[in-house]
Symmetry: C2
Subunit: 415 residues, 2 copies
Amino acid sequence: MNLTVMKFGGSSVADADKIRRVARRIVEKKRAGRKVVVVVSAPGDMTDDLAAMAGRITSEPSDREMDMLLATGEQVSIALLSMAIHSLGVDAVSLTGPQAGIYADLAHTRARITRIFPEKIRMELARGRVVIVAGFQGINPNQDIATLGRGGSDLTAVALAAALRADDCEIFTDVLGVYTADPRLVPGARKLARLSYDEMLELAGAGSQVMQARSVEVAKKFNVELHIRSTFSHEDGTWIVKEVPRMEDVIVSGVAVDKNQAKLSVLDIPDRPGIAARMFGSLARLHINVDMIIQSAARGRSNDISFTINRGDLRKAVPMLEKIRAELGGKGILVDERIAKVAVVGVGMRSHPGVAAKMFQTLAREKINIEMISTSEIKIACVIKESLSGRAVAVLHQAFGLTGKKGKSLRRSFS
Amino acid sequence: MNLTVMKFGGSSVADADKIRRVARRIVEKKRAGRKVVVVVSAPGDMTDDLAAMAGRITSEPSDREMDMLLATGEQVSIALLSMAIHSLGVDAVSLTGPQAGIYADLAHTRARITRIFPEKIRMELARGRVVIVAGFQGINPNQDIATLGRGGSDLTAVALAAALRADDCEIFTDVLGVYTADPRLVPGARKLARLSYDEMLELAGAGSQVMQARSVEVAKKFNVELHIRSTFSHEDGTWIVKEVPRMEDVIVSGVAVDKNQAKLSVLDIPDRPGIAARMFGSLARLHINVDMIIQSAARGRSNDISFTINRGDLRKAVPMLEKIRAELGGKGILVDERIAKVAVVGVGMRSHPGVAAKMFQTLAREKINIEMISTSEIKIACVIKESLSGRAVAVLHQAFGLTGKKGKSLRRSFS
């Protein structure tokens, strides 16, 4: 239907000048003859400022009231952005999440979108208007405002693109696109022109900050073509699409590193059925995601279990594990926060055996010890010492032929 | 139904400490066994700050988007106040104007309330909750957020009290109540225990800042008993009610002064039918309220027309009048911004002739010249030189026996 969804994050609308710049970008698109729906986050630090206000009132704000409070941030953005578009002579209308017909479930502060009724948006588009929708929010079955949690504005954009059958969904950010590795760590990193949903999902899971996995999952499910690109440049970014026709025989698309992990080991715990279920069931009830798990070979009647979680969850996880250890009679708990997860990702490895071997050899040559390994069809990830992670990414990037291919090292745009 | 509506202005919720104090006040009322609905304005200067943000984007923001923007202020207040009440162990729920069922007309930035559907509020009250409603806002027939303009939060409170058949409506402010005169100008001014709706309306029209006339009109129409009192004291304030049983023979209840007036004179304009209609019709189309009008006795075929308007409207009024004067051939326009309107108000004057004479004599004795006069059944107002207005209020307050009656001069609470 000749429709583009454009999503701008908070740093893109942090002040009046930036809002005006975003407005010009939107007006260009509109004047090029396209219908435009815009999704925008709260300006700059406003969400943090609002949360700090709540913190001065109470240390345990109710989730419902927190959503009522935080949803004002995006409402400020949509009103100001709409005004800026008007002042360029183009008709625009702002809609809150509820007004835009975005329905969410009852999980305040981390709600999921359940349905979208885009009739109001369609009506406004038919009137020739640019429609500006508040990201990160919807209305729940109690008619309350619900926020969608981390990455919520990306999710709003992708879900609207799906509901409206938009041709594409542009995710504007402060980088030029998705890179073969973080260009701050690997100077020879190249911007990728195209990636498959599955590769983007693996990169997001492996520590790439560009986009949250939940939004990519929705894009994949509804086949929404994503274009991740810079607010500050007209250069093409990275397209995230269903199938990537390869011009060359690319095996690995990118190398990612995640330094936000911690390794927990429960030592000498009885080796009998149900122990692991007990432990990981308790972690799940605390909403703690466990990534890699290793169980040592049994020594007599006990063994060690090691696993990785996000560092931010340590505070919740450790007391619970201590309780379980005390009940079951384990010897102790080891916490290691000085680890990093390094991963290579690429759909090409489906048809090319030997990627794992090459990764292990490359790391071994640098005397980098591998503490844990996990694999999927299109990803191999290793836990190593955090202090060695920069070196590991660089040598893997080189080993898989990602550096300076085509003799072109793209300019960085990290702010 | 054992229900009180409590309304708190922006200065009462300007920071976390103030919000906690207001919460304690609400919880006291609730713990005393009453059902409580609270209406609250945006915190402190937030409305001005938001308007300034819009000003940095465009000098002519659309009214609809301005309402979208400004409505966030009250939404912040209701969320924070609700959290503060929770932290005192009392259940509370915040509702935006639209969620509270407040319907408004299409006049963005100065909408009128058209209907209230208070089912949601009733349901939350029945669950034992304190209900916190955002003042100043409603939803219009386009399903857009509309703001109610100046005094909008008072209006929300009074309209909700009427719709819910509340026993009373407490308007919390930074003064102890309504005084016989502004205590900053007249040290002997006394707080009034009771006033009729009509007296309060005349005082509001004559410059009293305590409450806007539009809210008092709604209170009168639906017979809502108002209690104007201080956020910072438990002392009784002033009750605004239908009938005031007088313990004594009070003729004049209060003296008000309005320094926000300007006098305009159009000189030597032709004396023929339709001239006044032309002039005042044009002012009305610019939404300029005209208060007093004097037409001089005709001298031959022309005369002078003088009238008063709010000073803030001069910028709009003068160019329009200049155009009319040029068309009709008047000699010139005089603008006098150094005037004040002084008024005495009291239902007792209905049955007591001679109040006007006493007012004129009192001013004459002080050699204060009266430039214009207007009267109603319960008010006499005079335009005088602004520099003499302080003196005029003091002598009138004394002459009508308002000073130090009962030997009690109440303490001031102006901040």
